[in-house]
């Protein structure tokens, strides 16, 4: 039998169903890979027993004939999802040792569907970062290396860097991610896997440690488009506990999945051709356009005039919401407490000084500043207005086209430490991902090719609100034509 850890989610599910192998064999194989892959620092907590228990339940279910949609599939869960009785820290010292007494809706749905958990995946602290270097557990390392023989450790992207690295390195067949301003798509692109951020409200935010409430969305990261469809279907659905949850049925995305996009109109936004982006990115984009054309789609040049304001808008709204969302980490009810000096205020200040990392503190400071007296209208309210304009840009374009195709990120994976000293340079990595986040639209990254250094590059598909199907279908059409079979050499 070939290595079970090379199988996709779909193949594992089908193989278990058909009796080609047992779920326990699958879980055991992945547990072993998790252990072998520790050098990647992808997992912050390993839960082999959870995976085995779910596998045994799957094998029993098969025997009794009531398999569930994800029976036999072990997954990695980003550490932003509260998992009952399993340490959940959002990559922060602030939540060191925190064991929720509750299960997030999304992870709960996956387990309900039969999936098991291999462990909790490393991430940028509170999902703030694009390289996974802000994690309190240290950076995740990408399984990929440049072909220059230099062996420089590369960033897997972020904030879902653990998820990206783990899927790419076969430490799990699929993982949950969350995306506030590109945190699923950018790391997926960096490691050559697929990932989709659904329409805002598709996946419940209940039990997901909040970063920026109006932007946060969970989504799957997996090896291919079909696996994303399968996992997204299990993760999505109305949740009365989340006031922003969409009360609409979950489509059967996998069943309807089709690479046939003949007659679809694909928009190419001219504002995404920005200066300073490597020619290789443009080349991969151009190649993607050709492939869409080859699939029978019509290519239309479109304009999203407020694109250049998306990133600054994001860097007002997200920190503002974060500064408030993270006020609950005060050392009173859970998590870290540093006694400090000077009574309660001293305790607050010491706790939040010691518990938060640099980037988190930076963003809390920015968010506090833009909301503070006298600046609300100039910054926050202005940003919310520009956000309306950005969403309107998309609405107009979607009157002409069905989908938008862009690069996912303006570069391939960079080396660890390359951008840590320049926060702005780091922020700019999400320039293509952020607009769809601000507009709440479904967007997906699929691997499209390698750059000159042998590193993966991804393309992004953005769809109309609620049209995950369109995004997945176009993603599949692209996947079928790019035949991205590259994988990182296992050096770990």
């Amino acid at each position: 039998m070939s290595d079970l850890t090379d199988l996709t989610v779909a193949a594992i599910r089908d193989g278990v169903r058909d009796g080609a192998f047992s779920a326990r064999e699958v879980a055991t194989a992945f547990n072993a890979n998790v252990e072998k892959g520790r050098a990647l620092n992808a997992y912050v907590v390993e839960t082999p027993d959870h995976a085995l228990a779910a596998a045994d339940a799957a094998d029993a279910a098969r025997a009794s004939g009531d398999l569930k949609p994800l029976s036999g599939v072990p997954l990695g869960i980003k550490d932003l999802f509260a998992t009952k009785g399993v340490q959940t820290t959002a990559g922060s010292n602030m939540l060191g040792g925190f064991e929720p007494v509750y299960e997030s809706t999304v992870s709960g749905k996956l387990f309900e569907a039969g999936a098991g958990m291999l462990g909790k995946l490393n991430m940028d602290e509170f999902a703030m970062g694009s390289s996974n270097e802000t994690s309190a557990y240290g950076p995740v390392i990408s399984p990929w290396r440049r072909n220059d023989g230099g062996n420089a450790p590369l960033a897997p992207g972020g904030s879902s860097g653990g998820s990206a690295s783990a899927v790419a390195a076969r430490l799990c067949p699929g993982a949950t991610g969350t995306d506030t301003g590109g945190s699923i798509r950018q790391p997926a692109a960096f490691v050559g896997i697929s990932g989709i951020k659904p329409t805002y409200g598709r996946c419940s935010r209940w039990g997901v440690v909040a970063f920026a409430s109006s932007l946060d969305q969970a989504g799957p990261m997996a090896r291919d488009v079909r696996d994303c469809a399968i996992l997204l279907e299990a993760m999505s659905g109305f949740d009365a506990k989340d006031s922003t949850s969409l009360n609409m049925p979950v489509p059967n995305w996998e069943a309807a999945l089709s690479g046939d996009i003949r007659g679809k109109k694909i928009g190419i936004p001219k504002e995404y051709r920005i200066e300073g982006v490597p020619a290789e990115i443009d080349a991969v984009w151009q190649q993607g356009i050709e492939r869409m054309r080859d699939a029978g789609a019509e290519i239309v040049e479109v304009s999203l005039p407020h694109t250049k304001y998306a990133l600054p808008t994001y860097y007002i709204i997200a920190p503002a919401e974060a500064s408030s969302n993270l006020a609950r980490y005060d050392g009173v009810r859970y998590g870290k407490r540093s006694p400090g000096e000077g009574g309660i205020d001293g305790m607050y200040r010491a706790t939040r000084h010691d518990g938060f990392g640099k980037e988190v503190k930076r963003r809390i400071m920015i968010g506090t500043y833009v909301l503070s007296a006298g600046f609300y209208d100039a910054y926050f309210n202005q940003a919310q207005k520009v956000r309306t304009l950005i969403a309107r840009d998309f609405q107009k374009v979607f009157e002409q086209v069905d989908l938008i195709l862009t690069p996912t990120a303006p570069s391939a994976a960079f080396a660890l430490g390359d951008k840590t000293s320049d926060p702005l340079a780091m922020y700019l990595n999400d320039v293509f991902a952020v607009p769809a986040s601000l507009a709440g639209l479904p967007a997906m990254s699929v691997p499209a090719g390698l750059d000159g250094q042998g590193l993966p590059l991804g393309l992004q598909l953005i769809g109309r609100a609620f049209d995950e199907q369109g995004v997945l279908d176009a993603g599949l059409a692209l996947e079928e034509r790019s035949t991205f079979t590259h994988r990182a050499e296992a050096w770990w």
């Binding site: 989340d242 993270l326 007296a373 609300y376």
Partner: protein, 487 residues
Amino acid sequence: MSDYRIHGATGEWEVVIGLEVHAQVVSNAKLFSGAATAFGAEPNSQVSLVDAAMPGMLPVLNGECVRQAVRTGMAINAQINAWSRFDRKNYFYPDLPQGYQISQLYHPIVGEGEIEIELEGGATAKVGVERIHLEQDAGKMLHDQHPSMSYVDLNRSGVALMEIVSKPDMRSPEEAGAYVRKLRSILRYVGSCDGNMEQGSMRADVNVSVRKPGQPFGTRTETKNVNSVRFIMAAIEYEANRQVEVLEDGGTIVQETRLFDPDKGETRSLRSKEEAHDYRYFPDPDLLPVELSDAFLAECRESLPELPDAKRARYQDGLGLSAYAANVLTAEVETARWFEQLLAATGEEHAQRAANWVTSDLFGALNRLGRTIEDSPVSAAQAAELLTLTADGTLSGSLAKQVFEIMLETGQDPGAIVEERGLKQTSDTGAIEAVIAGILAANPGQLEQYRGGKEQLFGFFVGQTMKAMQGKANPAVVNELLKKALG
């Protein structure tokens, strides 16, 4: 409005008062969670993970709290905002688990309204309401349980409050007192707040400034969380006098937060923080705007009871009650409810007698017993029976009083008491005539004087007859027969 003035050394000063009343919304569950709101539970037992602001927890709005705020707004003829929104008020305090209070700054659910207040001497005045918004209550801190620690109980954390903000329309402690009493009455009629000030269901932030009449508003101070009408009035009185003194001494009033000390009857400055609060309000991204449908609003309106002002007018104009009685009977919803049960049983044609009886006999008895109408030992149905027994001549006024006393003691129905104790009034002319004959015979001197023109002695014969009949004779019949016998 009021001519209440503070007489300072430099002349007269006018007091300007605005009140922010926090009223706890009557609801089973909290504003954004399914935890209970009941008073007096074990610490941290009525706390959901949402109330404790666990990571990833989200608020979901309780529709009943929205409904109660809307009904309250309608009851004061306020603008109802079919589109409103929740904002976060950010600050750190251990009783505030989220690090922010979910409140409504920019788009409150209720806009401008008005409350009519009744002042001494029958005058009325109108006090404007600026807005009513919904917000979360904070938890409770205990500072005296441990030498170096404070304890936090989150049972109240997240309980729904209405903040009812008045305009600075009041000019005397009396007006402020009347405003709070009237507001409380309306809230209790509507059923949106139980008005229980001792348990903290209603408390006021008192804004006071002073000025020379005709001058622009002075700088105000805010005295926080005053929890009785008496204390509110005392705080205003103290604060206004303090401000006059400061100003007349050449000082200036600092805009600050103060606390009222009920024991001393004084306000004192809360240690002024070196930096002003900066609450960094912004729309809560965990919630969507609140959009109320026409059907929702219609239901709110239809479910409103008759309110005190309308009821008072009806009692005066429709039932013919005196202004005093109408006022007293409508001021508290329980009184009105009780009175209307009574009327339903006696018929509205007996309204005046019923009103008299309630305001004198019943209130007198309740006062004496230290009871409220809610735990009156006599039910409205029993009272109706008593009034009917008086109306149909079974009981005389004094017999009725006797029966009522026995009812208060035993809780028995008046009919049973009359039956058991033979307290029925007699109109048996034969029996009365026999008694009268005996009395005339026994008092020949008085009889002679009466016949000689001393007509005041008529009362003496009535008294003697009633006494001999043990109070059970029908006074009208006694009068008539006596007149006949005395010639």
